[in-house]
C-alpha cells in the first residue's frame, strides 16, 4: 500500500514536470507569435482592417517650347461605394440607394444594386462624373457612397500634335505618345486615404486614419513649337485632303540640336475623344512606319561619295537613259536620257544612272558603313513609343544589283524620322544629332528638374563635304527637280523623292507611289530641316516635286518667317536699296495682325488694315517688291469675314492652284473666274496684288502638269 502511494506521488510529480514542459512550449510559441512575427502580423492585421480610398495624382502639364499648354489635367469627381457600409445602413435600404443612384446617374438600377452590395471593400460606381450630378448626390448623403477627386486628361488644342501628345486612359495613365513614353515622370504617384474599419465595415472609434498624399506628376516642356506645328498641320491637311492620300506626314527639326519643332501625320484624331476615331488614325507614320524613300535617299549616297572622294562635284557622267547592272536593267524616269552631266547635275536631275554608277564606285562595305553611321536600320532613339527600325538589305547577301538599287533609294526601308535625322546631319556640318521631343522637365513651381541637352551621336561627314553638298542641294531647288520648293527670299536646299510602293505580294506596284520632299534652310546656314511624305496621292502628277515640294515650301516659308530668319536679300541688295530711300516690302501673309503690323512699321512702312480677323490673308503690294519708304502696305484680313463695307479687294496669287481652288478663292472674294485651259493656274490677269472692285472678272490660264 505504501509503495503504491509512493508510486502515485512519483507519478504526480512526473505529471507536473510534463505540464511545466507543456507550458514552457506554449510560452515559447506565444513569444514567437508576438515578437518574431509580431511586426508582420500586426501589419497584416492593420491591412485587413483598412479600407482604401484611392486619391489620384495630377498628371503633369505638357507645354510647347514657348510655354503654351498642349495637355492639361482637369479634376472630376468619381463616385465609389463601400458595400459593407451600404449593407449596414439603417435609415435606407440598399435597394433605395441603388434606385437613387440610378436616377441621378442614369444607370441600370439592378446592376448598380449588385455593385454596391458586392462582397468587396471598395467598388467604383462611376468615374469622372459631371459636377452637377455629383452635387445632387452629395446632397442626398447616401450611406456607404463616397466621392473622390480624380484627374482627367484634357488636350485643349484638340487634334493639334495629337500623335505626339498621345492619349490617356480613365485610370490617369498615358496610353500612347509622350503621355505614355514619359508616364513615370508625369504620372505622379497615386495617394490613398485609409480608414480603419470594423469587420462590418463601420469606422472604429480611435481608428487609424492615414492620408497618403498623391505626388503630382512633373511637367514637360516639349521642343514642339505650337505655331510651327500649326503651320505643318495646316499644310499637311491640305495635301492629304486634296490628293486623297492614304497617309501623309511631315516633320520639322532644328538642324543644330535635333529638336523636333513639329511633327504630324494624317489621318489624325482628337485625343479627347479618341475612341470616336478608327485606331489607324492614331498611327504616327513619321515614326512608326518604314517606307522605301526613293530619290530623297540619294542625298546620303552623294554624301558618302563626296566624303570618300569617290566623286568630285564636277565629275562627268553620261546618262543614256538606263544602265545595266549584271543582268538587270535600271532606268531613269521614263527611260529619258539625261546625256552628259556633272555630279552636281545628276543630283539636280535626280539621275538614276548617275547614282547607280556612283554607288557602285563607293562599294558595298563603305556604303553599309555610311548608312549605319547615318542611323538607318536602327532606332533614332526619339522619345516616342513604337519607333520602327526600318529594314536594310542584309550586308552579307548584298550583291551589286542591291548596291545599285540602294544607291538610288530603293531596297532599304527607312522611317521619315531616320531620313530627316540623316539629312539634318548633312546640313549640320556632318554632325548627326539625336532627334528628341522633350526639352525640359519642370516641377509645379517652374523649377527645372531636368534639361534634355542636345546629343550629338556621331560626326558622319566633314564640314567641307557638308558645305559642298548644301550648295549642290540648293541647286536642286534653284535649277533642278525641286523648283516647287523654292521660297522667295531664302536659300533652300532639298531633294525630291517619288518611290514606287512595294506590293504586299512582292515587287513594286505600278500605280501607287510615295511622294516626298526633304530639305533644309537656309542653305548657307541651315536652321531647320523638314521632310514631307505623302503616301499614295491620287491623281497626276504624283511626283514628289509636285505633291510634296509645294507643301515643303509653305511649311518652310512660314516657319522661317515665324522664326525671324533674315531674308537672303537682307544681307545684300536690301541694304543697298535702303540707301536710296526705297525698302523691300516684307511678306506678312499668314502672320497674326499685331505681328504683321510691327514688321511693316519696323521696315519704315505704314500698315493699313482692311477686313476683320486676326490673321493676314493678303497684302498689297506683293512681298519683296521695292517701294518708297513710308509707303502704305494694305493688309487684308481673313477672307471668311470680309468687311461688308469693302467694295475693293486685292487679287490673290493664284499660281499653281487647281481650278477648283481658284474658283473657291475668287468666290470668297466676290470675284468671277474666267478660266482658260485646264490643269494648274500659271498666269492670271489682272496680276496678283492689283486692287479691283468686288464683282470684277479675273482671267486665269491653266496648263496641264508635267514633271
Amino acid at each position: 500500500m505504501q509503495t503504491t502511494k509512493q508510486t502515485v506521488k512519483k507519478r504526480i510529480a512526473t505529471l507536473f514536470f510534463l505540464f511545466c514542459l507543456l507550458f514552457f512550449c506554449l510560452g515559447g510559441r506565444i513569444f514567437w507569435v508576438q515578437f518574431v512575427r509580431g511586426a508582420e502580423l500586426s501589419e497584416k492585421a492593420l491591412q485587413n482592417r483598412m479600407r482604401d480610398i484611392p486619391v489620384e495624382s495630377k498628371r503633369g502639364i505638357i507645354y510647347d517650347r514657348n510655354g503654351n499648354e498642349l495637355a492639361i489635367s482637369v479634376s472630376a469627381d468619381s463616385i465609389y461605394a463601400i458595400p459593407a457600409e451600404v449593407l449596414v445602413a439603417k435609415k435606407i435600404t440598399s435597394n433605395e440607394i441603388a434606385h437613387k443612384l440610378a436616377e441621378v446617374l442614369e444607370m441600370d438600377e439592378q446592376k448598380l444594386h449588385d455593385r454596391i452590395t458586392r462582397r468587396s471593400s471598395f467598388e467604383w460606381i462611376k468615374r469622372q462624373v459631371e459636377p452637377e450630378k455629383t452635387k445632387i448626390l452629395r446632397e442626398l448623403d447616401l450611406p456607404g457612397i463616397g466621392f473622390t477627386e480624380e484627374s482627367r486628361r484634357y488636350y485643349p488644342k484638340g487634334t493639334l500634335a495629337s500623335h505626339v501628345l498621345g492619349i490617356s486612359g480613365i485610370d490617369n495613365t498615358g496610353l500612347e505618345g509622350i503621355d505614355f513614353y514619359y508616364n513615370d515622370l508625369i504620372g505622379g504617384t497615386k495617394g490613398r486615404i485609409i480608414i480603419e474599419h470594423d469587420g462590418g465595415g463601420r469606422p472604429i472609434p480611435e481608428a487609424t486614419h492615414k492620408f497618403i498624399a498623391p505626388v503630382d506628376g512633373a511637367n514637360l516642356i516639349l521642343t514642339i513649337d505650337e505655331t510651327i506645328q500649326y503651320i505643318v498641320e495646316r499644310e499637311i491637311d491640305k495635301v492629304f485632303q486634296e490628293r486623297q492620300a492614304k497617309s501623309a506626314s511631315a516633320i520639322v527639326m532644328d538642324t543644330k540640336t535635333g529638336e523636333i519643332l513639329a511633327i504630324t501625320s494624317r489621318p489624325t484624331f482628337d485625343p479627347n475623344s479618341y475612341s470616336d476615331y478608327p485606331v489607324k488614325n492614331r498611327r504616327n507614320f513619321a515614326i512608326n512606319d518604314a517606307y522605301e524613300p526613293g530619290s530623297t535617299m540619294k542625298i546620303v549616297t552623294a554624301a558618302m561619295a563626296l566624303e570618300e572622294k569617290v566623286v568630285t562635284p564636277n565629275r562627268k557622267y553620261f546618262c543614256p537613259g538606263y544602265i545595266k547592272v549584271g543582268k538587270e536593267d535600271i532606268g531613269c524616269t521614263d527611260r529619258k536620257a539625261h546625256g552628259s552631266q556633272t555630279f552636281i547635275e545628276i543630283v539636280e536631275n535626280s539621275c538614276n544612272v548617275g547614282f547607280v554608277e556612283t554607288g557602285l564606285d563607293v562599294g558595298i562595305t563603305t556604303f553599309f558603313k555610311y548608312i549605319n553611321d547615318f542611323g538607318f536600320g536602327k532606332l533614332t532613339g526619339i522619345d516616342l513609343p513604337g519607333e520602327a527600325e526600318g529594314i536594310l538589305v542584309n550586308q552579307k547577301n548584298a550583291k551589286q544589283i542591291d548596291l545599285a538599287t540602294m544607291s538610288m533609294g530603293q531596297a532599304n526601308a527607312v522611317t521619315a524620322i531616320q531620313l530627316l535625322t540623316a539629312v539634318a546631319a548633312v546640313a549640320n556640318d556632318g554632325v548627326l544629332m539625336q532627334p528628341h521631343l522633350v526639352k525640359k522637365v519642370i516641377d509645379n513651381e517652374g523649377k527645372i528638374i531636368k534639361t534634355m541637352e542636345p546629343k550629338a551621336i556621331k560626326k558622319v561627314i566633314s564640314p567641307e563635304v557638308s558645305s559642298q553638298l548644301r550648295l549642290i542641294l540648293e541647286g536642286v531647288v534653284s535649277n533642278g527637280t525641286g523648283k516647287n520648293a523654292y521660297v522667295e527670299g531664302y536659300r533652300i536646299a532639298g531633294k525630291t523623292g517619288t518611290a514606287q510602293k512595294v506590293s504586299p505580294t512582292g515587287g513594286y506596284m505600278s500605280n501607287e507611289y510615295v511622294a516626298s520632299f526633304i530639305g533644309f534652310a537656309p542653305a548657307d546656314n541651315p536652321q531647320i530641316a523638314c521632310i514631307v511624305v505623302v503616301d499614295a496621292p491620287q491623281g497626276y502628277p504624283y511626283y514628289g516635286g509636285w505633291v510634296a515640294a509645294p507643301v515643303f515650301k509653305e511649311i518652310v516659308k512660314d516657319s522661317l518667317r515665324y522664326l525671324e530668319i533674315p531674308l537672303y536679300e537682307d544681307n545684300n541688295s536690301e541694304e543697298k536699296v535702303a540707301v536710296d530711300n526705297r525698302v523691300v516690302v516684307p511678306d506678312v501673309v499668314n502672320l497674326p495682325l499685331t505681328e504683321a503690323s510691327s514688321i511693316i512699321n519696323n521696315r519704315g512702312l505704314q500698315a493699313r488694315v482692311s477686313g476683320t480677323g486676326d490673321i493676314v490673308w493678303q497684302q498689297t503690294p506683293k512681298p519683296h517688291t521695292k517701294v518708297a519708304r513710308s509707303s502704305e502696305v494694305i493688309i487684308n484680313l481673313s477672307p471668311l469675314n470680309p468687311s461688308q463695307n469693302d467694295t475693293e479687294v486685292t487679287i490673290p496669287d493664284l499660281e499653281g492652284k487647281s481650278m477648283k481652288e481658284v474658283a473657291k478663292i475668287l468666290a470668297d472674294l466676290g470675284l468671277h473666274l474666267m478660266p482658260e485651259g485646264h490643269g494648274l493656274a500659271y498666269e492670271q490677269s489682272p496680276e496678283a496684288g492689283k486692287i479691283v472692285s468686288v464683282g470684277s472678272s479675273i482671267k486665269v490660264k491653266f496648263q496641264p502638269i508635267g514633271e
Binding site: 503504491t4 502511494k5 508510486t7 502515485v8 506521488k9 507519478r11 504526480i12 510529480a13 512526473t14 505529471l15 507536473f16 505540464f19 511545466c20 507543456l22 507550458f23 506554449l26 510560452g27 510559441r29 506565444i30 513569444f31 507569435v33 508576438q34 515578437f35 512575427r37 509580431g38 511586426a39 508582420e40 502580423l41 500586426s42 497584416k44 492585421a45 492593420l46 485587413n48 482592417r49 480603419e196 470594423d198 469587420g199 462590418g200 472604429i204 480611435e206
Partner: protein
Amino acid sequence: MRLKKGPPDFALFIITLILISLGLVMVFSSSAVTANVKYGDAYYFFKKQLLWALIGIIAMIVVMKLNYNKLKALAIPLMIFTIICLILVLTPLGSSAKGATRWLGLGPIAFTPSELAKLAIVLFLAKVMEINIDKMKYFTAGVLPYLLLLAVICGLIIPQPDLGTAFLISATVFFMLIAAGARISHLSILGLAGLSALVGLIIAAPYRLIRLVAFANPWKYPSDEGFQTIQSLYALGSGGLFGMGLGRSRQKFFYLPEQHTDFIFAIIGEELGFIGAFFVISLFLFFAWRGFQIAIKAPDTFGSLLATGITIMIVFQAAINIGVVSGSLPVTGITLPFISYGGSSLLFTMIGVGMLLNISRYSSNH
C-alpha cells in the same frame, strides 16, 4: 481515518480569484462592442458572467467546507445523472447553437452536461481507482473498465458534436491512469489506440480534417477554415510586448469570432501584450504546481487522485486553449478556464477548485 483539518491552500485561492477577476475584465473588454451591436447593451455578457462568478465563488466556498470524503458517496449517482443528462442532450430536449447541440434547458438557464461530465468522471475515477489501486498493473482488470466507461461518455459527447471536450476527458482519464500507477506499456498502447481513434473520427467527418489542415496553414483558407486562426494570430501579433492597452483591441471589432469565449486569450495578448499573456500562462502553471502539490500531500489515494484529476482537467484545458489561440493546434472549441465567457463551465470549474481547496485542508503537512 482521522484527519486533522487545517486552513485551505491560500495561494491556490488567490490564483483562482485573480484568474476570475481577470476573466471578468476581459469578458467585458472583449464583448462590449459586439454586445452593444447585437443586444444594445455593452454589459450584456459581463453582467451574466459576473452573476455566474458570484454563484461560482459561493459554490466554491461551500464545497471547500465540505469534507471531500463525503463526495465518495456522490460519485456513482452523479455519474449516472451525468449519463442521463448526456443522453437527454441528444434527444429533442437538447438545445442547439452554432451547429452543435450541447445545452440542456432547465427553465431560464441552460447548462452544459459535458461540463458536468468532466467533474463527474474525475470524481468517479478517483473513487473507483482508490478501491482497485492494486489492479492497475493489469490491463483487463485494471485499465480496460475505465476505457469502457470513457467510451460510453465519449460516445455520448462526440455526436453533439464536441470533439474537443471528448478529447479533454480522454486526456484527463489518461493522465489519471498514469497517476494511479498503470503500466507505461499499457498506456503507450492506449495512446496509440487513442490516436488511431482520433484519425478514425477525422475520416468519419471531413470537416475535422479541414480544420486540422487549416491550423497548419491558415492562409491557405483565409476566408473559411483558416479564418479564426488568422484573426487570432493577427490579434496576438498586434500585441507585441506591452499590448495595445486594455480595451483597445482592434480585432474584437467583428474580426475575431468567439472573441469573448474560445479566443479570449488572443484579446488578452492583443490588449495586454506578451506581458499579459505570459502572466496568464504563469498563473495556470502556478495553479498546476499548487494543484499537484495538494495531490501529493493529500492524506489518502482518493484525495490524491481527485486533486490530480481536477488539476489536470483545468490546466490541460487551458493549455489546449492557448495552443489553439496561438495557432499551434487545430481549432477545437475549448474555452479558457476561469476567463472565457460561459456560465456552466465557470461554475463546474469553481466547484472543482472548491474540492481542491478542501483536500488542501487535510494536507499531510498539517
